[in-house]
Symmetry: C2
Subunit: 146 residues, 2 copies
């Protein structure tokens, strides 16, 4: 029912990359520091994100990661699908994989489909750019109120 830390941390990490877009690679250590996460644990999330083509690694000193596409072209849903698998409120209503044990003619099934559709509509329509823009706007907002 709930998102695990994988999805949460993954989005947070890629949000940091979006904030740093155009300014060279950002290391896992830097990301871990900024978000207060375990660097070793982030490694485990970086691997699938790299294999899925969302981020690109640069090895060696001063290395790190950059987004493979523009922040505006990566949605929160993209990240979550890589780290958590198909999106759905239940297995039987998830993205690509119909669960044969749950008959889709089951009267209750329509509820799960509706919930899943709403989840998808939110996370597929928020890009990393949106998050970065909003964070910068809030930062600006704080400045005015000092």
């Amino acid at each position: 029912m709930k998102l695990s830390t994988k999805g949460k941390y993954g989005v947070k990490a890629l949000f940091e990359l979006a904030m740093h877009e155009g300014a060279g690679p950002l290391s896992l250590k830097a990301i871990a520091d900024r978000q207060g996460l375990s660097e070793h644990y982030l490694e485990q999330l970086a691997a699938p994100l790299r294999k899925a083509g969302l981020i690109t690694s640069i090895r060696g000193a001063q290395g790190g990661y950059v987004l493979s596409r523009a922040a505006s072209q990566i949605t929160v849903g993209d990240v979550i699908r890589v780290l958590e698998g198909p999106i759905g409120y239940t297995d039987c209503s998830a993205d690509g994989e119909p669960d044969p044990s749950c008959a889709s003619n089951c009267p209750v099934h329509g509820v799960w489909e509706k919930v899943t559709a709403q989840i998808v509509s939110v996370i597929d329509n928020i890009s990393l750019q949106d998050l970065a823009d909003q964070a910068r706007a809030e930062q600006q907002n704080l400045m005015y109120h000092i």
Copy 2:
């Protein structure tokens, strides 16, 4: 991220009670048979649902369970909250319990809040009566197409 069988089975069970409304108690065995579930496992779900006041038990032979309120006054959200706890896409955006480890000023937090609001808006606006009505309508629809 996904609903467990607790929530799914619970809604299915109470849907059966709604279909049987006004026709006396329905035993766990009958519910288990109709939905293809384990009777013993259903017992574990019945206990919290009874304690939460959603269903009323009638002991002894020919006993079983009935809905404590009219089917129109019980929502899918009511059932899920009892069996799965506070509703939310993440812990930090769930119903009543703010997770202190997740700062709500975190830039990503707004996403989880939006998703949670959409989930809640669906499940809190579908009653057991709605499900029963729809199931009967589909049954009727099948009849016309023979």
